[in-house]
Symmetry: C2
Subunit: 522 residues, 2 copies
């Protein structure tokens, strides 16, 4: 195991040069905690009436809150690809061109995954001696060439796809759970999720895997990157027995409580190990709460419009807390417009690494904001994409919608509603409505819920448009879309025989390859 000896050598150097030195802001450990379908309104500190997240609320009180933090896409796979590449999905290929403005992701039948040409955060961190682990959901492709250990991670405990199921392993296999490069078992088989009771120990496993990794790297005096990505708040939501029935909010709230408890355990361990001043922690979510699963298995987007799958605020504004004692001022709030792609660039900056210069990187370095240095971070736009279409843009407090869509009439009439109880005329539309000639504009400070379009006859509207239009034109003109990776599907590529299945006697036989163009309905 050559990596280990390198680790020991490297840690010895760190050991001798850094003992008793003042805390160094360079090369801190990095922990990104990425929740699954957790909404902005699910945390006490962001206004959840049940106030059941004492650890996250304390994390905010000790760190910095970002009320204007966004994902890169209102759906899990592209959002996660954006985080790890620092690039919009339309650039990194995590989108589809099969139809206009469709949310595509990585179900089992997807042929593609993260492109071999994309450079991921752990690959870059490795150049500075970081050891990286992903715990939980990957979702950047499940075929062998797409898995985390092929993309810079040194360790993995978790699953490549969502925990949908149970399946009977004939038409479609249950999702495998990996330990590093080999499967350990499958969801609903070795890794139980009781859909009836909601009981599963997965969050506890993910917690222990995280704690163990932190402990080992600390003992090895090795800088580390932990990408902690539990999925208990994605339907079907689950919690372990001690948390079931404990929330005021039902099963979804139970899952949130267990995740909050886990966050507390992780931060507490950092303090116990004495590495809290040398570990940058960021908590956020991959997209807005899935209101189609609410109220029993979906969360809350607080005062925002709609949720997951949509480019309204409820779909893309995320809970976000940065924590780094002695570096980030306690109880700070930053109104910086920021997003998950900034975590890529910021992590690189913390590690002293320049972002790749051979491609467009959308992420900004937030360290001036985090460290309260005279800010040089530009007041950059936030782009809201759905597949291949820029649906909206935010500049300062203003958001302009160029296209609106919740979902189709056909879906809506069948009971799929991304905006339950909400209806903003001309905005929460059930057909793809084009507003490119006259965008719908909201002031998100006065109107975070996107309920009151600014009159197109007003001076304010003209002023906004005069500032937004050149930003959008520039973006469109210079955008070079990546090769779309999420166009083709094939039942043959499903998780029939993941690596390691032979040892376990759990290899399945899939059908012959018969690829088709995936149908993305919204």
């Amino acid at each position: 195991m050559p990596a280990l000896s390198l680790v020991l050598l490297f840690s010895a150097i760190i050991c001798c040069s850094s003992t008793l030195q003042p805390v160094n802001t360079s090369s801190p450990n990095i922990i990104i905690m990425l929740m699954d379908d957790m909404g902005w309104g699910d945390l006490g500190v962001f206004g959840q009436p049940s106030k059941e997240t004492p650890n996250l609320d304390a994390m905010a009180a000790q760190g910095m809150l970002f009320p204007n933090f966004y994902t890169g896409n209102p759906l899990c796979s592209p959002s996660r690809a954006a985080l790890l590449t620092g690039r919009l999905p339309v650039r990194n290929g995590f989108y589809t061109t099969n139809a206009h403005a469709r949310n595509a992701y990585t179900p089992q039948e997807i042929v593609g995954g993260i492109s071999k040409d994309e450079i991921l955060l752990p690959q870059l961190l490795k150049t500075k001696g970081y050891v990286s682990k992903i715990v939980g959901k990957w979702h950047l492709g499940h075929r062998p060439q797409h898995l985390p250990l092929k993309k810079g991670f040194d360790e993995w405990f978790g699953a490549p796809n969502c925990h949908f199921g149970p399946y009977n392993n004939t038409v479609r296999p249950n999702i495998p759970v990996y330990n590093n490069s080999e499967m350990l078992g499958r969801y609903y088989e070795e890794f139980k999720i009781d859909k009836k009771t909601g009981e599963s120990n997965l969050t506890q496993m993910y917690l222990l895997e995280g704690l163990d990794f932190i402990l080992r790297q600390t003992e090895a005096k090795q800088p580390f990157f932990l990408y902690w990505s539990p999925d208990a708040t994605h339907a079907p939501v689950y919690a372990s027995k001690p948390f079931l029935g404990k929330s005021q909010r039902g099963r979804y709230g139970d899952a949130v409580m267990e995740l909050d408890h886990s966050v507390g355990r992780i931060l507490s361990q950092l303090r116990t190990l004495g590495i809290e001043n040398n570990t940058f922690v960021f908590f956020t979510s991959d997209n807005g709460a899935a209101l189609i699963s609410a109220p029993n298995e979906g969360g809350s987007n607080g005062p925002f419009l709609c949720g997951k799958q949509t480019t309204f605020e409820g779909g893309m504004r995320e809970p976000a807390i940065a924590w780094w004692p002695e570096h980030i001022k306690e109880g700070a709030v930053s109104f910086q417009l920021a997003n998950v792609m900034d975590l890529f660039t910021t992590s690189l900056a913390l590690a002293g690494i320049s972002p790749p210069d051979d491609r467009t990187v959308d992420g900004l370095d937030l360290t001036p904001v985090l460290l309260n240095r005279p800010s040089t971070v530009q007041n950059r736009p936030i782009f809201y994409y759905r597949g291949n279409e820029m649906m909206a843009v935010r500049l300062g407090q203003y958001k302009a919608h160029y296209w609106t869509w919740s979902n189709s009439w056909a879906q809506f009439k069948s009971g799929i509603n991304f905006c339950p109880g909400q209806d903003v005329p001309d905005v929460t539309t059930h057909e793809q409505r084009e507003h490119t000639m006259q965008p719908i504009v909201f002031h998100l400070g006065r109107d975070p819920g996107e309920r009151f379009p600014i009159s197109v006859l007003s001076r304010e509207y003209r002023d906004v448009l005069s500032r937004v239009t050149p930003v959008v034109d520039q973006h469109r003109k210079t955008l070079v879309p990546g090769v779309p990776q999420l166009n083709m599907c094939d039942l043959a590529v499903m998780n029939w025989a993941p690596a390691g299945c032979e040892k376990l006697g759990k290899c399945l036989k899939g059908p012959a390859s018969k690829p088709w163009k995936c149908v993305w309905t919204h």
Copy 2:
């Protein structure tokens, strides 16, 4: 001035018996800060994305937050009458029987006011030597017999009605501003509100009046009750010059910032005077944010449905913070179902006074909750009234709607919308819809936004109903409605010639009396 000598005598006794004694929890000073049309979602600590209430957020961090705190009515006058009498408006007479389920209040043309038979909080506190002052809006009737100094307050600086206007003093007079029992001038005349710029110094005046009262009573060693009731967040919203344009939320946010600043000044003065451990402070609002005035002049109800005027959560759930250093545990959260009427009973309990036993009092004593004593406070129901009709009831996490109404189709079509951007079928109805045979039930823990009615076919629904029904039956059976005070209107009773107008040369002549049954449209 006989009252003064009594005060001095009394304070001398307090002085000599209490000097250097340990802090006593009996007879603390009481400050109730009641905002006007401020919504649950307007405070940072309750999830306002702009996070512009640092003083209120700090107050919560030092005190106790009540996420389940309610008003007694979704409109200002009856809510305020409920607070000061401890009784539901349907009992204390602050309602109308002119039409079914209508919100009535005290505009200038109202003939009635608080009934002479009602006992108000300051009247009772006086029996224990408290000196009481109201600063700001009264709204319990503007005719001489209804004014604060006739109902137990020793001092008043403020106005009897809303600051609507400006009027030209012919068809209707501008609202007077009183200092104690005589007017000092009128809104828009001596007391400027610039509706165009939003500038007014009224909040600053109300702040100084409050600070001055606290200082004087402290110097006099006199227990006091300050009812601090500024109205800057009621449309037309206003702020003083230093706050105008400072918020991310426009003028409404400016007003909130100035009120937050004032709260900070008041708490800071309590500390400076060394009386913080002997002063119980409670912050709340009279009803939900007025969404008809949003986004420019109306606030936010966070994740809740609709707003002012409605019996949905947005209309009646209020921001609420209790603060009493050394007595209330720092950073506590109480999920107790509580309401403004509890402030009546709790204040009496703090002062060592029993509530009147010759009438039904709806308020409960919250001191066991506040002081973290083994709670004996019952898990009582919350009743949601609109005029003479109980529209809904909350019991535990469940809320059952017996009647639903936002406003009429005619109003809605004319642009008056109490639920902008929100539409829950069968719930946000535009006619008074009766559900008494089969109430619509929500679980407010899972579904605080009242978007997902519980299926009437479910066991949960039947269980809820079996518990709620006897509570409602009991309430209806034992309810003795008070004589409605808000049925009659008359232009002759308007503020033509308030006491003190002669000295100022500001008496106006009104029309002859010609009473009519007031028309309450929603």
